[in-house]
Symmetry: D2
Subunit: 349 residues, 4 copies
């Protein structure tokens, strides 16, 4: 069975696994205070702020274990008690994290997304509406904006879109947070024009996904504006996301940010996603959202599902009507064209 | 530098690392739904309920990533909003988890510990005091009991002590939860008489520590009375402790629970702790708590600290006066007698 | 200036004020343990369960101070940590309580309302969708249903609608909670066919509003199924809603539930709302939702607002376009036809 | 039966009740936006900052309904998520609020009290200990200090003590919050040397109790340093403490702060407490804490309790041994010497 449910199907990429094995029996201090973490932070800062300067000096990098906890803890750290977070109604925090944000006491204020994205105009209108509301003390204040790059539908914010959203946030004095759980696949996409440097400049906080992008686990939070997240380490500890053997995250991110490995991992996955999407189109299936990264969404007749499910596993993303199901296939760094062969043959057959 | 700060200084034990490497490029489903997790759960249940029967059929095993999150999520799952958790005033949840329990909305009600332990009489008195309190609607109800085995001072509850505490909890109708972050070192101790089977019978929920006992990370929660923790998986997800690549935990715990590896790892660490404790005693230092597992507590003259700190790292546990510091040394599965040589030589010298 | 912003513009109805004055210097025990509270609870139970029986014997009545706290505490008491509350997207808890529900850790799962109401089919579909969701451990479970009677748009659930919703909830095994902040105006409405007895039979928990219905403050929570809200008093205390001088609430509700005062107060307010709505219609304004209780919603040309605002105050409820504003007028028990005269004259003029 | 359990036994003082009655049928805007609240805020500011100036211009007054909610909301507003509140182990928030502070996510860090009080040295030592702790990211940071004036044992902080505590807080950069639920009885005490002006100067936030000091309900929070509590109104609303008919609080506090009524109410209660304490001493009972305000604590032989309980009600405050019970009597503004007569006669008899 070829598992294409998501991009956390395999372990770590060989380079990361080799680094973990090589350092395994070393003894070092815990909770991210070790030298591997220090070195990995420097490499990430080098990639985000290649020109150095005051922003690089101020910026901070924190390693957490997984995406849900990263979203919940960053958002809990950024918001004041009366504030909520603006997000696309298809956003991960609004749909698939079991109420993790609400569990920290904050509302997710959703905006209707188009192909997984919200835009600067929507955000500005929501903020303006709140400010003009005569009973605003009785409504949840929009306190920050959450985006995913790529989005939950595999689409990308362009540099122009992200610049506009960042400008709206800065005008309003609220932080912009970008969830990069799948960032490798965004950075590597043909149509992408948003670099790490752009993210570091336009977002106040963002994270670089490890779990779905070549690591066993781990997410690297980059805080470009640390005054927004003072005392973040005790918060990470309190919410249970400070890995005791923190070094494991340093070793992994240090490897991923050596010799361009991180983007390289995304590139092949995006290419294979393109190959698979083309095969699905050729087969006559309707593409729901144009594929640009490693997630592919197609409308499949329900009658075809059983046969397809024998060749590959996938996730169902709802039903547009009684006869069709939207299906998501996800490629990742571990997948090869050989792995896909049986599925491609089936689609051609 | 020999790091003896804690038992999370090294990576995973070789058998675990080999298993992770061997399975690394396999693709499997996420979040603990894979076959490695299923197999590991069976092995743990076999170890806890060797005679099978209805308790084994009812019991559940969940894998989480780290200790703080495990404590916070189990406690949040067990308590009703108006309840608190009874714990030793030296308990991890009361002291060293950055307010993780309070962050879930619950008070830690502390009882004065003796050598890290509380006893059945104290617990019964606290519950009786609450029940007799005319203003009990205005005080926090004791809703469960939290113990650590071994305790934060390396000591052990005896079977007799644990049986008495369990009886008090059952009389009062409140669950007993045992934190086994270092359980391997308890199970392997010479003086220990509490087996996994006893824990499974006397506690309602307990966890078997992986992070400090041979795994890269991971804790296995055994729920002997699952009616107390219905819908626990969405809670684990919501609180950010459901590992996407859940298989990693299944592979590790499956290995740890093969051929008695888990207890074997603890045994050598406990033995080395005994060797080191004896050397410290011979040197003339006062032992604060008699060593029985892998944690050693000695009172060291402040004047000796700089020289000692050049040979080994350790944690400081407070000052009994102006001239002394209580110091904790911790051995673990990864340590060898060769690693200790320089320190032992120093103490002899 | 005639204040028609809401129904909390005046103090208490004369009968209530007289009772408070008459008992003012008495000394009694606190926190609702006094005889006035006991008597008021009996009267409310008599009104809800006139035939007595086991339901009356089991049911409980609690007095809280205000509506937001009542909603938040009841919902926090009813839900398990992984659950959310289903509500109309126009529901008070979704819109106008500053994130009070999320502050207790729970998501408000909104359904699109029609004239302020949701229906049994929507609720059933939502629950069925959750149950069929393959990733339901990653989504918020619908754990209860919240309705308002009358709704935030002044409309009423019919007995048939409420019966259908109650049946869906019981099928699904989740509680139904009805917010009756303005219940007097519902009970008194010409078109209403839902009695207190029906509410007590069909809802698991509901509250009888005092603040907006003749009391200085206070809400009476009726728990028809007390096993759902065990240990509710310490929760009320913990969340700061247990009035120290609890007797004040007993005196007020005892008075409101003597000689049919509660419904009588609603009747005149509803009648005056009808008079005002008719005048607005006659003036040519478009009614947004047909008036049945004490809230009136009309679309007013923006050009008319300044002049209107000189005669009466009101709340703005959003703008259907650039030239119109939806305006809400609210009558209450304290209002007389004489109070309305200037406004009626203005509209006729 | 003479109720001396606490100081919330009666309704409102006659002046307050008269003002509520006189304004009862007026219609005004809600949630504290009315003119009565505005006027009451000015009077309170006049009393706290008689010399005007920038502090008066900056300071803010908010009205809430009760003490528990006031403590919980102020503390939740002042603390960052990783911080806790320092308090006496006999402090109301540590003992008698059902875990209200923990329910907002924060730990109450207790210090051992002497006669209900903690001192500057203890607070400084606790903060210094935290700062010196090598694992301080794993412990709860002391983020503010909570005091009660008078304390839960009826004792008073002197100006010297309060000045020293304030200095420690300012050195450490953490706010000082004073719970004045019974402030009238402190201000009126013979031995008191802390004025409202001192409180406004030395504390960052404090509240002036209404519920126990002549009002039906209500607490007035004075925020001397408003940058610490930005956006406080939506937080009050979210936590359910924003009274809809907010005017009721304005009318009451406006009256209490007219012509020195507030302190006058305290004076007679303190005097009567002195009379009763003397009678108890004369009877031969041991005074546990020297009476200075309206709370009296005596050790009573258990054999005497039944007879005493026939003359007056009181609260039991624990048992110093098998034969004695500590009993608390509380006088209040509503009590007269005539009310006390039977009890005094009994003690003399």
């Amino acid at each position: 069975m070829l598992h294409l449910d998501s991009d956390y199907m395999a372990g770590a990429c060989p380079e990361v696994m080799a680094a973990l094995t090589a350092t395994n029996m070393e003894r070092s201090t815990g909770y991210g205070t070790d030298d591997y973490c220090k070195a990995a932070r420097e490499r990430i800062l080098d990639a985000c702020f290649p020109e150095g300067g005051r922003m690089r000096a101020d910026a901070r990098v924190y390693f957490l274990v997984g995406g849900t906890q990263t979203n919940a803890i960053v958002i809990a750290g950024l918001l004041r008690p009366h504030e909520g977070v603006l997000a696309a109604d298809t956003g991960h925090i609004a749909v698939h994290e079991s109420g993790a944000i609400e569990a920290t006491g904050h509302k997710v204020i959703t905006l209707p997304a188009t192909d997984g994205k919200i835009n600067a105009g929507q955000i500005a209108a929501c903020i303006a509406g709140f400010k003009a509301d005569p009973s605003k003390d009785h409504t949840v204040a929009p306190g920050m904006v959450y985006l995913s790059q790529p989005t939950e539908l595999g689409t990308l914010y362009s540099l122009r879109e992200l610049t506009a959203i960042s400008a709206v946030c800065r005008d309003a004095g609220i932080p912009l947070f970008v969830d990069g759980a799948r960032l490798a696949y965004a950075l590597a996409a043909d149509t992408n024009d948003v670099t790490l440097t752009d993210l570091a400049r336009l977002a106040d906080v963002f994270y670089i996904g490890g779990t779905k992008c070549g690591a066993l686990m781990g997410e690297a939070v980059v805080v470009a504006e640390p005054s927004l997240l003072r005392h973040f380490t005790p918060l990470i500890k309190q919410r249970g996301a400070l890995l005791a053997k923190g070094r494991l995250l340093g070793v992994q991110f240090g490897t991923l940010f050596t010799d361009g490995l991180y983007e390289r991992l995304g590139r092949e996955a995006d290419r294979l996603a393109g190959v698979l999407a083309e095969a699905l189109r050729q087969h006559g299936y309707r593409e729901v959202v144009a594929q640009v990264t490693n997630q592919i969404f197609f409308e499949i007749p329900n009658d075809d599902l059983p046969a397809l499910a024998k060749v590959a596993s996938f996730e169902e993303w709802g039903a547009p009507g009684p006869h069709y199901t939207v299906v998501r296939f996800v490629t990742d760094w571990a997948l090869t064209e050989a792995d896909l062969k049986a599925l491609l043959d089936y689609l051609k057959g």
